[in-house]
C-alpha cells in the first residue's frame, strides 16, 4: 500500500480513491502503535474508546502534537535518531524517535514528493544554514530538514558560519562554479530572508538557475510585514530567482511535505492527508471553513505521529480541483491558533519584580 502510494505521482489520486487507500493503512498503523507504545494505547483507550473498526479517516484517533513535548512516545526498540522541535526558549521541545525503517520511509517520501520539482539527478546543494545544524544527536527540525535534503544534493555547501553569519565568499564561489545548470537552495524562510536576501545587494548574485525550497514559520516575517508575495517578488528582483517553493511541514512528521503548487496553495502528497477541525467541538469543518489542521501521514512507524492535530489554522480551498493536474485537497494556512490569556488570582508574572542587579 505504502509502496504503491509512493511510487505513483504525488497528487495523482482523487480524494475518494485516496481515502479508500489511506483508511486501511492508517487503521493498521494505529493498531501497530497501539500494540507497541503503552502510553499511546492508554490514550486510545481513555480518549477514543479503544481500537475500533473506524469507518472514515476522520474517525481514526489523533493526538494533539504538543503531547510529544510531554511524553517520550516511541514504538521502536531501536531508535537511531532523536529529533527535537526547535522550540522557543523556555519551552520543552518535542522528542521524536526515529529508527532506520522510519528514516528510510521519510527519505523515500521526500524523493517522491520532490521528484517533480528537482528531477531524478542529484543537484548541487547550497544550504542556507550552518553545518552545525546537523549535529548527529538530538537533531532540531531545521537540522533534520537540511539532513533530509542533503540526500538530493551531490555535495552540500553551507552558506552560513557557525554564528549564522553569511559566508559570502563561499556562496559566491558556489554560485560561480554552478553557473548554467540547475542547483538547489534550501533553508528556513527566515534565514533565507534575513541572511541571503539581506546580505547581498541587487544583481550581486545570479540565482536564475536555482531552485529554492524553503519552510518554517512565517510569524517572524509577518512581524516584519513580509508576505509570501513580497518574499517572492523581492527574491526575483534581487537575484532573478523565480523557482521558489514554500512547503508546510513540522518535526513531528518529518518527511511529509505539503509543497506549494498551483494557485499558491499547499498540496498533501498521496501518502498524507489533511482534515480541518472546528476548535473546541473538534468536528470536521466544511471545505472553505477555517479551522485547526489535522495531518495524517503513513510515514511514522517508530513513534505514533501518524495522525496529529497541529496548532496551525488553515482551510481546505478545493478538493480534486485539478489545477496543474493536482487532485486531492489543496489548502491554505493562516497561521498559529490564538493562545489564551486566562485571568486569575495569581499574577502570571511577578511584574512587581525589578531584577535587583539593575536597580
Amino acid at each position: 500500500m505504502f509502496d504503491r502510494l509512493l511510487d505513483s505521482q504525488p497528487y495523482s489520486l482523487r480524494q475518494v480513491e485516496k481515502d479508500a487507500l489511506l483508511l486501511p493503512a492508517l487503521k493498521d498503523l494505529t493498531r501497530f502503535h497501539y500494540e507497541r507504545c503503552q502510553p499511546y494505547a492508554q490514550i486510545v483507550d481513555a480518549a477514543w474508546g479503544g481500537v475500533q473498526d473506524w469507518q472514515g479517516l476522520s474517525d481514526v484517533p489523533f493526538l494533539p502534537v504538543q503531547i510529544f513535548k510531554e511524553h517520550a512516545l516511541t514504538s521502536t526498540t531501536a531508535p537511531s535518531m532523536i529529533l527535537q522541535s526547535s522550540g522557543t526558549t523556555g519551552q520543552t521541545p518535542s522528542q521524536i524517535f526515529v529508527d532506520s525503517e522510519t528514516a528510510e520511509r521519510q527519505s523515500r517520501a521526500l524523493v517522491s514528493t520532490l521528484r517533480p520539482i528537482l528531477g531524478d539527478s542529484r543537484l548541487p546543494f547550497l544550504a542556507i544554514d550552518t553545518k552545525d545544524v546537523i549535529k548527529p544527536n538530538n537533531l532540531t527540525a531545521r537540522g533534520a530538514g537540511v539532513l533530509g535534503m542533503m540526500k538530493f544534493g551531490a555535495r552540500a555547501t553551507f552558506a552560513l558560519t557557525s554564528d549564522l553569519e553569511m559566508d559570502e565568499a563561499t556562496v559566491r564561489r558556489f554560485v560561480e562554479s554552478n553557473r548554467g545548470r540547475p542547483f538547489l537552495l534550501f533553508g528556513f524562510t527566515f534565514l533565507v530572508w534575513t541572511k541571503l536576501f539581506g546580505q547581498f545587494a541587487n544583481g550581486e548574485l545570479d540565482l536564475s538557475d536555482a531552485i529554492l525550497i524553503h519552510s518554517g514559520g512565517w510569524k517572524k516575517l509577518e512581524d516584519q510585514k513580509v508576505s509570501s508575495a513580497v518574499f517572492r517578488a523581492s527574491l526575483r528582483q534581487r537575484f532573478n530567482l523565480t523557482k521558489i517553493f514554500n512547503f508546510y511541514g513540522f518535526v513531528e512528521q518529518i518527511g511529509s511535505m505539503f509543497v506549494e503548487g498551483p494557485g499558491g496553495f499547499l498540496y498533501p502528497p498521496n501518502f498524507t492527508d489533511v482534515i480541518v477541525r472546528r476548535p473546541g467541538s473538534w468536528e470536521v469543518a466544511e471545505d472553505g471553513e477555517e479551522g485547526v489542521l489535522q495531518i495524517l501521514s503513513l510515514l511514522p512507524k517508530s513513534y505514533p505521529g501518524h495522525n496529529v492535530l497541529t496548532e496551525d489554522r488553515g482551510t481546505i480551498v478545493t478538493t480534486d480541483g485539478g489545477l496543474g493536474n493536482r487532485l486531492g485537497k489543496a489548502i491554505s494556512i493562516a497561521g498559529r491558533v490564538a493562545k489564551a490569556e486566562l485571568r486569575g488570582c495569581s499574577d502570571v508574572i511577578a511584574a512587581e519584580t525589578v531584577p535587583q542587579a539593575t536597580r
Binding site: 486569575g344 488570582c345 495569581s346 519584580t353 525589578v354
Partner: protein, 406 residues
C-alpha cells in the same frame, strides 16, 4: 518616579513620590473608630448604585451590590463587635497598603472596603486598566470620598518599581498582598513602618467534593440546578480564581455513579455554553493535551474532550489530582468515603465546595483536617462569593488592633 492618582469621573493625575509620601503620612493622623457611620453609609451607597444599574450587570458586580447592602454591613459590624473581647477597644491600624491581583478585578474593592470600614487610611495599587463595571463602582467611590473631603483614601497606579513600593511600605502600618507566591517574595523584602503587619495571599487552588449517590438520585431539575451552580464556580474567572475548583472528588463507586457524573459534566458544559464562555483555540488544544497526557501517564481511565467548554478526566482510583489547566478542565476522582478526602488535602488547598452531604459530615471532615491548608468549606455555587474571612484571615481583625482598657 511618579504615580497616577485615580480621581473622580475617570480622571488621572500625576503625583510625585514626595507629594504621595506627605499625603500618606498626613492620612493616618485623623482616623475614625471601626464602623464609623459615615464610612458605613459611603460603602452602602455602592449597593444603592449597583441596584439601580440598568442592563446586564456582571455576576461579580451583582454580588458586590449584595455584599454592600446596609443590612449586610450591619450584620458584618455586629459580628465584628461580638468578637471584640470585653474591656478592649478595637482601633484602626493606620495606613494600609493594598496590592490586589492584576486579574480578579473585584478583589481590590473588598480588600479596600474592609480596611476602610475598619477605620484605616488606605492606598491601593491599581492595575493600569480596570474593566468598565468595576471602574464605574470605583468612580462612584472616589466621588463620594471627594464629597466627604476625605483625602486619606488613595487609588494609584505605577509601573513595576521597587523604590516606590519600598517607600509606600515604609510609610504604611499594614499591607495586604494578593497575587501569589512570587509577588509575596518581592514584598517580603520590604519592611513596613514600625514593624507593621502584612497579610499574604499566596498561590492557592481549590476543589469540590460531591456525594455520588445523592447526585445519581437527583431529578432533571435538581441536576440542572447543581450544574448551574457548579458552572458559576468554574467559569466566572476562566477557572483561574483561587477558589475555583480544578478537581472534583466523588464519594461513591464509578460503576454506579459515573453515568450521573457524566450527565452533570454535560450539563455544566451546556451552562457554560449558554453563558457564552469560550476560550481561545490554543487553550482548547492545551486542555485536550492535558487530558491525553493524563491518560498517557495512567492517571485517567477516561478523557472527555469533545465538549468545547469543559474537558474532564476520570480516575477510578483515589489519588490526588493536581492538574490546574484552567479555562474549563476538571479532574474527576472517585473516593470510597468522605474520610478518604482528608488524606488527599494539601497545604495550598483553599476552598472545598461540597454537595450532597449532611452538615455534620462536612463539619466532621473539616474537624479531621488539622494540618495547614483548607481555609473554607462552602456549598457548590458559592466558591467565588467573597467573605470577610478569606484564606484563613479575618480581614477586619487583621486590619484593626486591640487596646486593653482596664
Amino acid at each position: 518616579m511618579n504615580s497616577m492618582l485615580f480621581e473622580a469621573e475617570g480622571r488621572r493625575s500625576d503625583i510625585s513620590a514626595h507629594v504621595l509620601r506627605a499625603r500618606i503620612d498626613a492620612s493616618r493622623l485623623s482616623l475614625p473608630a471601626p464602623f464609623d457611620p459615615d464610612r458605613v453609609s459611603l460603602v452602602a451607597s455602592i449597593a444603592d448604585v449597583i441596584v439601580r444599574w440598568k442592563g446586564d450587570v456582571a455576576p461579580g458586580i451583582k454580588y458586590l451590590g449584595f455584599w454592600t447592602r446596609r443590612a449586610a454591613l450591619r450584620h458584618l459590624e455586629r459580628n465584628f463587635l461580638e468578637r471584640c473581647p470585653a474591656d478592649t477597644l478595637s482601633r484602626p491600624r493606620g495606613m494600609v497598603f493594598h496590592l490586589p491581583p492584576k486579574n480578579v478585578e473585584t478583589i481590590f474593592l473588598y480588600s479596600w472596603i474592609l480596611s476602610y470600614l475598619a477605620g484605616n487610611a488606605n492606598i491601593v495599587r491599581m492595575p493600569q486598566a480596570v474593566g468598565g463595571d468595576v471602574m464605574r463602582v470605583l468612580d462612584r467611590v472616589i466621588a463620594a470620598l471627594d464629597a466627604a473631603h476625605d483625602p486619606s483614601q488613595m487609588f494609584v497606579h505605577y509601573p513595576a518599581d521597587n523604590d516606590l513600593s519600598e517607600m509606600i511600605s515604609a510609610h504604611s502600618d499594614a499591607r495586604v498582598v494578593w497575587g501569589g507566591d512570587a509577588k509575596i517574595a518581592t514584598f517580603e523584602r520590604m519592611p513596613l513602618r514600625n514593624g507593621g503587619k502584612s497579610i499574604w495571599f499566596g498561590d492557592r487552588s481549590s476543589l469540590c467534593v460531591l456525594d455520588g449517590a445523592v447526585v445519581a438520585a437527583l431529578d432533571g431539575a435538581g441536576l440542572a440546578d447543581l450544574a448551574q451552580r457548579f458552572a458559576n464556580d468554574i467559569f466566572l474567572f476562566d477557572q483561574m480564581a483561587c477558589s475555583s475548583p480544578h478537581a472534583l472528588y466523588v464519594v461513591g463507586r464509578a460503576p454506579e455513579h459515573l453515568a450521573a457524573i457524566k450527565a452533570l459534566l454535560d450539563l455544566i458544559s451546556q451552562e457554560a455554553a449558554g453563558k457564552g464562555s469560550a476560550v481561545a483555540a490554543g487553550h482548547q488544544i492545551a486542555k485536550m493535551t492535558a487530558g491525553f497526557s493524563a491518560a498517557a501517564s495512567g492517571q485517567a481511565t477516561e478523557v472527555l474532550w469533545r465538549a468545547p467548554q469543559l474537558t474532564s478526566i476520570i480516575s477510578e482510583t483515589a489519588a490526588r489530582a493536581d492538574r490546574s489547566v484552567g479555562g474549563g478542565f476538571l479532574s474527576v476522582v472517585f473516593l470510597n468515603e468522605l474520610a478518604g478526602l482528608n488524606d488527599l488535602l494539601r497545604d495550598k488547598d483553599q476552598t472545598i465546595t461540597h454537595f450532597g452531604f449532611a452538615t455534620s459530615d462536612i463539619r466532621r471532615a473539616a474537624e479531621r483536617h488539622l494540618g495547614p491548608g483548607v481555609a473554607r468549606w462552602t456549598p457548590v455555587g458559592l466558591a467565588l462569593e467573597f467573605d470577610s474571612i478569606w484564606d484563613g484571615y479575618d480581614i477586619l481583625m487583621e486590619t484593626t488592633r486591640l487596646c486593653r482598657v482596664g
